[in-house]
């Protein structure tokens, strides 16, 4: 079989749900055994999962590289910063999350209309271009956004008017990400995903068997954007600070890199990728900071050349199956 080009998404079976359950159990228990900053890292990983899943959907189903996740993370973060920081309107998660969701859905839909006009290289570059437009406007509109200094002193969030402690926020993030993992697993196993794969496989044929190609592409883009919007809100609350750098395309590229490292032929890919990338980033900056670019760059390049989209999870799976055969 021609493995390098195979990007078939496996179906969600019982094993996937059990794995999800085990993962959830681990992240629920883990904070009791680790220090505060490790919990912050864990929380960041959890929060990245929705965004990486957004990239994952576009990559594994539509085969498009989506560098623009930072737009929606930025939107979510800045909405939070304005509402809970600069203008202190509210720090209620139950207001801010839906608000960010609505804003990112609307923006994603509108952007999707024209970004989705082209595919492949052009789609990727357009993602970057639109991201940079947002970045430069946010950066330059100093009086509103605080310019390069960003917005600090974002209040801690409250849930149903109950203020959340750090631990409380961690568990809220946990619930949100696990919820999104479950939701995304369902999406990936629905007829929607089947038809997206058909679109990626052969656009003309898909159209000729009655699949509304444009609308479904836009919907996929919107789902990705909505996921990132949620990430944005919770990241802003986790660090109590936002700066325009969340809008930079390099930041959005991190999610693509995560997806590649994790692998897009397995559902565990985004989760492994998010945690893998964050830990790699963190430990490289503590151990051999000077080699940061070389290590990350070579890792990804080698993964792409050797196993294609399968990533770390693909390598692990192959190893397991080999062991089992023996």
């Amino acid at each position: 079989m021609n493995t390098a080009l195979s990007m078939t998404v496996p179906s969600v079976g019982r094993r996937t749900w059990i794995t999800t359950l085990i993962f959830t159990a681990i992240v629920v228990v883990l904070p009791f055994f680790i220090s505060g900053y490790q919990r912050t890292l864990l929380q960041k990983g959890l929060l990245w999962i929705p965004s990486v899943f957004g990239v994952y959907i576009l990559y594994s189903l539509l085969r498009q590289v989506h560098f623009g996740q930072s737009i929606f993370i930025g939107l979510g973060s800045y909405i939070t910063a304005f509402m809970a920081g600069k203008y202190s309107v509210t720090n209620e998660l139950m207001i801010l999350l839906p608000l960010a969701l609505v804003v990112s859905i609307v923006v994603a839909y509108v952007l999707g209309i024209f970004i989705m006009k082209r595919t492949g290289f052009y789609f990727a570059v357009m993602g970057i271009a639109v991201t940079m437009v947002f970045w430069s406007l946010v950066y330059k509109a100093r009086t509103i956004t605080g310019g390069s200094d960003g917005i600090s002193h974002i209040k801690n969030p409250s849930l149903f008017t109950v203020p959340l402690s750090d631990m409380g926020l961690y568990y809220f993030c946990l619930i949100v990400s696990v919820g999104i993992i479950v939701l995304m697993l369902r999406v990936l196993n629905s007829s929607f995903s089947l038809q997206l794969r058909a679109i990626a496989g052969d656009l003309e044929k898909a159209e000729s068997i009655g699949i509304p190609v444009k609308r479904m592409q836009r919907l996929a883009f919107t789902i990705a954007g909505a996921n990132a919007g949620i990430t944005g809100v919770l990241l802003a609350f986790s660090y109590n600070y936002v700066s325009p750098s969340v809008f930079e395309w390099g930041y959005g590229a991190n999610f693509v890199q995560s997806a590649i490292i994790g692998g897009v032929t397995s559902f565990a890919g985004p989760v492994v990728g998010a945690f893998g990338f964050i830990n790699l980033e963190f430990f490289i900056s503590t151990w051999f900071a000077n080699l940061w670019e070389i290590i990350i760059g070579l890792t990804i390049a080698i993964i792409v050349v050797t196993v294609g989209e399968k990533g770390v999870t693909g390598i692990v799976q192959t190893l397991f199956s080999k062991i089992r055969c023996k």
């Binding site: 080009l5 007829s191 509304p212």
Partner: protein, 256 residues
Amino acid sequence: MSNNEQKPLLITADKLRKYYGEVKPVNDISLEIAQGQVLTLVGANGAGKTTLLNLLTGLIRPDRGEIRLLGEKITGVPPDQRAKRGIVKTFQLEHVFDDMTVFDNVRTACFSSAGKHYSLFKDIEDENEINERTGALIELFDLTGVRDAFVRNLGHGYKKVIDIAMCFAMKPKILLVDEPTSGVGEEEKYKIMDLLMNQIEANNLAAIIVEHDLHLVKELSKETIVMCDGEFIARGTPDHVFSQEKVIEILVGKGF
């Protein structure tokens, strides 16, 4: 033409025109097809056959003219909508979803025909109705043996059959078949054609079949249209049409 009066008109095209600069692949063509009417379309390469089919399916927009389906104007309707309303086309070169199994290929079409594009949260395995229908189609088209194989690993003939099966999954009213036998071996050719014609007859479909093999054409249809430079130049029973000198000149060349 007597057929048309007995059965209701399915599709009418009125003065369709599509120019690409100097090239005029479709030049003011009018066409009427009734339910259950099977037409074959012949013509030299570049006569505009594929362009005509693409105009009917909506992949290309006409410069002028209009198309009606059951009396309803569908000129500006996008191809996916037309497919749902019953105008379905098979492709000249194989167009199938390489990275999916045969079953998934057909299932995709079944989902689409059922209009389930946006059911985001329902597991595909739980959609019993559609899975049953897919299974039935797979059996109908004799694909049971390769049900779970990846399409990319299958041969030419299989891909053609899968393509046709997907079209039938759409519950078509009219089938536009673009050279179903191109690139397929002699033996498979007849098998595919038989399958296709049986299904068309069984469902009482209208069809336009573009075909190069004149022997096949004679066997297949009661009515043939010859196309040249974007115009219809002859129409009638195959025997009648192919006896015309003009037609022979175009199809076979002046040398003979």
